[in-house]
Symmetry: C2
C-alpha cells in the first residue's frame, strides 16, 4: 500500500522528538494506519551538519523551507519552528501548495488560528494542532471528537507548568515566592523573564484556545481577566489547608446564560477534588458537560517527546484523511488488525508486596515467617504493627521488596499452614510509580 510522505520544517526540540518517534514507532504506526509514514523532506538550519534519526535517513534535506512545502513528493507538512513570522509563511505556503498542515505552534494558533483554518478549508486541506496546547494531553481529540456530543458547561485548567511547579514548591517547603522563583530559574524550570508564566499570560493564550474548542467562540486573550501567582505566600497555603483547600493558578471558563465568565488567577481549590492532585510541572483540564458530567484529563504540559506524540498522532490522522476510501477508515480497535495473544505468566512479574496476617500471638512468629521468606529468596522491606490490637486475632503486616509473584505465592501458601495463623495471609501488590 502506498506510503504518505511527510515534510518536516524545524528540527528543534519538538522536531527532533517527532523524528525520534517516527523512527522508533514506525512499525506500530504502520499497524495502526495500514500504510507507512515516510519522511520525504526535512528543513533545518542544522540538518546537514548532524546525524538524523533513522526515519529521516533518506529524506531530502534543505535549509530552505520553500523546498519542503513545494516538494512534489510531500503530502503533509509539519511546521515545528515556532514563532509567528516565518512559521506563518510556512503554514500559509503549505496550504497554498495544497498540503495539509500539522503545527505545534501555540502563539500562531492563538493569534490567528481561525483565519488560517479558513484558508485551509477553502483550499480543501486540513489543519491539525493537537501539539499547540497541553502537548502531553490529547485534549483537542477529546473536545473535538471524544466528547463532541456533549455541551461543555464549565472548563477548568491548570495550563502552565512553571507556575504550578512554583506553587507546589511553596506549599511543600513553605518557601517564599521570590526564593522559589530564583531556584526555578537556576534549575531552568523558569525563564529569566518569568512574566509570561507567573503573571498568567501563557495560561491565558492556552485558555482562549481551549475555549474555542469547548464553546465554539473566539476570545481575544487580552479580554480575559488575568492575575498571576506573585502574591500567594506560604501563610495562604496554611489557611487554605484549614479550609480543606490548596491553591492553584486556575484557568476557568464557565457558561452563564449565553455568555462566558473567563479568568486566569490563583484560586483556592478543594483538596478532595481530583484537580487538587496536579503537582509540579503537570497540566490538567477538567470539564463539566451538560450530559457527560465530570471528566478530567492530565499529563505533561510540554517536552520534546510528549509534544512529539501529539505531532505524530496528528500526522497519522491527517494522513488517514488523505485516503477517504472505506479501507482507510479509523479502525475501532486502534490497530488495523489485532494479534491473538495470551498474557505472560503473572507469576513471573516482580512487584513489591504487602502481606497482612491475622495471628494468635506467641514468641517466634517473625522468626518463622522470615525463615519461609528467606527460603524463597524474598527480602523483607518492613514489619508494621498497629498498637492495642487483640492478641488472639492480631493483625500485622510485612512488606516485601520487589519479588517474583510465584515465589511470594509459594511462601504465602506455606505460611498459611503455620499453627498461629487465624486466617490465610492477604497478599496485595504495591504500586507506587503511577
Amino acid at each position: 500500500m502506498q506510503d504518505v510522505n511527510l515534510g518536516i520544517v524545524g528540527l528543534g526540540n519538538v522536531g527532533s522528538g517527532t523524528l525520534t518517534i517516527l523512527s522508533e514507532n514506525a512499525g506500530q504506526i504502520a499497524r495502526k494506519l495500514g500504510f507507512r509514514l515516510n519522511v520525504a523532506a526535512v528543513c533545518s538550519r542544522s540538518a546537514k551538519s548532524r546525524t538524523l534519526p533513522e526515519a529521516a535517513k533518506s529524506a531530502f534535506v534543505t535549509e530552505d523551507w520553500g523546498e519542503v512545502v513545494n516538494h512534489p513528493g510531500v503530502d503533509v507538512v509539519a511546521e515545528l519552528i515556532g514563532g509567528t513570522t516565518v512559521a506563518r509563511e510556512v503554514v500559509e505556503g503549505a496550504i497554498a501548495a495544497g498540503k495539509s498542515v500539522v503545527t505545534a505552534n501555540k502563539e500562531l494558533i492563538a493569534l490567528d488560528g481561525a483565519a488560517i483554518w479558513q484558508k485551509a478549508a477553502a483550499r480543501g486541506v486540513t489543519l491539525a494542532m493537537e501539539a499547540s496546547v497541553c502537548g502531553g494531553i490529547p485534549i483537542h481529540a477529546v473536545l473535538r471528537e471524544g466528547i463532541a456530543g456533549d455541551r461543555v458547561e464549565t472548563l477548568f485548567g491548570i495550563l502552565n507548568g512553571t507556575s504550578n511547579y512554583i506553587l507546589t514548591e511553596i506549599e511543600q517547603h513553605g518557601s517564599a515566592f521570590d526564593d522559589v522563583l530564583a531556584e526555578a530559574q537556576k534549575l531552568g524550570y523558569a525563564e529569566a523573564d518569568p512574566t509570561a508564566d507567573v503573571d498568567g499570560f501563557d495560561a491565558r493564550s492556552k485558555l482562549a484556545l481551549l475555549a474555542s474548542l469547548a464553546f465554539g467562540v473566539r476570545l481575544h486573550p487580552d479580554s480575559i481577566h488575568t492575575e498571576g501567582i506573585r502574591r500567594v505566600s506560604p501563610i495562604d497555603f496554611q489557611y487554605a489547608r484549614q479550609l480543606g483547600c490548596t491553591i492553584k493558578l486556575l484557568c476557568s471558563a464557565r457558561r452563564d446564560g449565553s455568555g462566558l465568565f473567563v479568568s486566569v488567577r490563583s484560586a483556592l481549590l478543594a483538596r478532595n477534588t481530583i484537580m487538587a492532585g496536579v503537582q509540579g510541572a503537570y497540566n490538567a483540564v477538567w470539564c463539566r458537560g451538560a450530559f457527560g458530567a465530570d471528566t478530567f484529563y492530565y499529563g505533561r504540559g510540554a517536552g520534546p517527546n510528549p509534544t512529539g506524540v501529539a505531532v505524530v498522532s496528528d500526522l497519522m490522522r491527517v494522513a488517514r484523511e488523505l485516503r477517504p476510501s472505506p479501507a482507510h477508515r479509523v479502525p475501532p480497535f486502534a490497530f488495523t488488525s489485532l494479534e491473538e495473544s495470551a498474557p505472560l505468566d503473572i507469576g513471573l512479574q516482580k512487584r513489591p508486596w504487602y502481606l497482612r496476617f491475622r495471628i494468635t500471638d506467641r514468641p517466634g512468629i517473625i522468626r518463622d515467617l522470615s525463615s519461609i521468606l528467606a527460603e524463597h529468596a524474598i527480602s523483607i522491606d518492613a514489619v508494621l504493627q498497629l498498637p492495642d490490637q487483640d492478641k488472639h486475632n492480631l493483625p500485622f503486616v510485612i512488606t516485601l521488596e520487589s519479588s517474583p509473584e510465584a515465589a511470594v505465592r509459594r511462601a504465602v501458601e506455606k505460611m498459611s499452614k503455620l499453627d498461629f495463623m487465624v486466617q490465610p495471609p492477604l497478599a496485595l501488590p504495591i504500586e507506587r510509580g503511577l
Copy 2:
C-alpha cells in the same frame, strides 16, 4: 446541506439518554458537523406507547428492529439494546445492509468485537464503540487517535464503579466488606448477585478491550489473572495509610519484552498518585507511553447521559466519515465556525471568596472590616487566625459566602485604606465543586 439519518434500536436508559442529547444539543451538533443528525427510525417495544423526545418526533417507530436496519432512509444504526443474542443480529444485520454501526455493547464487543469489525471492514462500513467501556471517559478516542503516535508501555485502570464505591466506603467509614455490600445493594449501587463487580469479572472484560486498543492484541478475558475485593478489610486501609497508600481494584497491563503482564486485583496504590484520588463510582485510566510519559483520564463509568454522550459523539464521527469531501473534514476548532466573543464582565460572577489580611493588631479590627463587608451586602462565612503570629504583621483570613466579584473588589479596595493594613488584602476565589 443534507442531513445524515439515524436508526436507533433500543430505548432503555442509554437509548433514552441518546435521544435526549440529540434533542437538546441539536443546534450545537449541527454547528460542529456542518449538517444535522436526523432520527429517521426508532425500534423499541415501548416506543409506541410513550412520548418520545423532540429529536424522534417525526421518526418512523416500530417494534421490529429489521425495519430500522433495512429502512432505506437510515444511514447509520445505533444498537443500544445490550446483551449478545438479538444485539448481535441487529449489528450484523445493519452491516449486511451496508450501514455503519454505533454500539454501547460491552459484552458483545468483548466477546466478538474483532470478528464483527472484520465484517464491517469487508462491507466498507464503520464500527464505533466508544460507549462500550468507561462510558463517561472518551478513552477510545484517546487511545485510537489522541495518543495514537505513542507506544503504550503500561496501562492501569479503575474500571468498576461498584467495587470502587465499596472500597471507598470501607476506607472512609471503617465498615466491613459484607456490611458495605449489603448497604450498596439496598441503595441499588450493587446487584443482588454482586459477583461480576466485586470479584473483578466486569473489570476484566473492560481491561481486555482496553488492552486491544492500547497494545493491538486480542486477549481472552478468562486468560487474565483476576482477584476481587472480598478479602480487603478496614485494617488493611489502616496499614496502607501507614505505607502512604490506599487500596483500589486495579486493572493492570504492562508490556514486558514482547509480552504483557495483565491482572485485575486489589492493590496498594501510593496516595500521592493522581489515580489514588479516584473516589466512589468514578472510573479512570492511567497510561505510561514510551514517549508521551504519563497521561490520566477520569470520568463517570456509566449512566444514561454520560454513555449517551459517547454514543452521540460516535454518531457524529461516523456521520462525518460518510462524507469524505474536504468540506466535511474534522474542523480543528471542533466547530465549523467560531463566533466572535467577549467574556462576560467578571465582576458579575458570584463565588465564595478567601480574603487574607496582614495587619497591625488593635481592638476593633473585625468590627471595621465587617462594617465594610456589610455596606457591600457581603456575608462572612468564617474568620480564621493561626496561633502564635507576629502582632505587628498579623495574618488572618475572612472567608465570604458566594458574592459578586465587583462588590468584593470594592470592599477590598476600601479595606486597603484602613490604617491597620500592613499590605493590601489578598482576595482569591474558592472552588469546591470540581
